[in-house]
Symmetry: C2
Subunit: 250 residues, 2 copies
DNA sequence: TTACTTATTGTTAAATTGCAACTAAGTTGG
DNA sequence: CCAACTTAGTTGCAATTTAACAATAAGTAA
């Protein structure tokens, strides 16, 4: 066998000479609506699993997507119009059985978006899209592919991260009060949290700033408005917050 | 356009009609040797990056691998002969630039194995394989593809998990003393840990059991041998362990 | 002015941390 | 046979932190 340069090797390389798996990106998009955690699902307009509800997602467009995140952002934008979500890679799922078209692997992502100003996109050719409430860590519906499993993993990951991070700010609009933020934590965790302990953590995490002259007025004492401090990444606490049981959900 | 059944759709579906990314699985295999964290690298025998050191890995064999984990386990077994490692999915990496053959995505895994009884496999046709010390969260060498980046992410993940979990037991042989376990924690974290605090956590984590009549003898008081309690999954603590600075490494 | 709601600050018992000393149980060497 | 040595494993304790609860402050609305 003659020695081959990398040049020569690459010029003769053809991916279609091999049996390769299908590779896709799927998204678990969360938001808070009506005091509950919701996930975005789409109704499939094509085979396989035509008519069933599924996570939004699709194949990587190797001509237009620079990387996996670009594929995820493109899909998210198509469905929600949101361009700057909190986006994090969840986990890969890949096996022989999950897709009837053949061996298939997916990179799943989860995204957090505020429910305000979201106009779900569904035109004539687009699949129907709808928000579904998360109950008991999942969805009552049967989902296409292994999406029910992916969703469960995503909910677990979200819950576990909320225990010890500032992540839930991304579920709220840009400006919010501490009570609203605490409420989001409680909704995701399914239990109540001590107010003073919560506020102490937020203060010490040092990732929020007061909105100048920003107050939320209601039929009570006005609440200070806060927003994410510029350039602050997600903050992780060293301890989990333990609270008393909450009445709902358990 | 006529209505198509899922049957018909699948019979006409051909993955080779589409431009798909290359999809592979890469492994970051850690062990403790000579009181230091090591990673297993292989020297590439073929293009691209022929001759460079890289993480072990390769393409999914859709005819023989049932799922992604099977691919990872197959590669691990080929290189080390180990069949039952601690194996965890790390992260997906995928973009246009990481592989000169074209758009490429990889599912990376990290594995922990005890260094005892490992006979690295390298025959005539196999790539050379060697353990390299981890320094400053990575490797001094240039690695093929984006493997230096993947390795850094793996080291970070390992360190962060060691902070709050029982994971390092998988770096030790089946039976070990508490001092040995503490030493492994210290090696991975790069700092020393308080003995009584460490032992209290282990006790309360309740994932070890005493080996009946098991003692490690030396020129001192014998140490009790422990092993992972059967069926115990990884235990996560709610708090991180903070220790004083250690003399070495910093 | 009173009722009501949310923000913010205190208070106290319990738990944890960091450090250090102490006891235990072997081996080694004179 | 005994004293020195080494590592294993336990115990003590003061300083600090936390959890959980309670009280007070600051607005709006009737």
């Amino acid at each position: 066998m003659k020695q081959q340069s990398e040049q020569e090797f690459l010029s003769q390389y053809n991916i279609h000479d091999f049996d390769v798996p299908l590779t896709s990106v799927d998204l678990v998009i969360f938001t808070i609506k009506d005091q509950a955690l919701h996930v975005l699902l789409v109704q499939r307009g094509e085979h396989p699993f035509k008519g069933m509800w599924a996570l939004p997602g699709g194949f990587i467009d190797i001509h237009n997507d620079d990387d996996l995140e670009a594929t995820a952002l493109r899909k998210l934008y198509q469905k929600t119009g949101v361009k700057t979500p909190y986006l994090e890679q969840l986990q890969g799922f890949g096996n022989r059985a999950r897709d009837p078209r053949g061996w298939s692997a997916t990179f799943s992502y989860f995204a957090l978006i505020p429910s305000e100003n979201i106009q779900l996109v569904h035109g004539a050719n687009a699949d129907a899209a709808r928000w579904f409430v998360i109950e008991d860590g999942g969805i009552a519906l049967d989902l296409a592919f292994d999406h029910a499993q992916i969703l469960r993993v995503a909910v677990q990951r979200l819950r576990s991260k909320v225990e010890y991070s500032s992540l839930p700010v991304h579920l709220l609009p840009e400006e919010f009060t501490l009570s609203e933020l605490q409420r989001v934590h409680e909704i995701v965790l399914g239990r109540s949290i001590d107010k003073s302990a919560f506020r102490k953590r937020i203060r010490e995490g040092d990732f929020l700033e007061e909105v100048p002259n920003g107050w939320r007025h209601g039929s009570n004492r006005p609440a200070r408005l806060y927003r994410l401090a510029r350039g602050q990444p997600t903050v992780y606490f060293t301890r989990t917050m333990v609270g008393r049981e909450t009445g709902k959900d358990g």
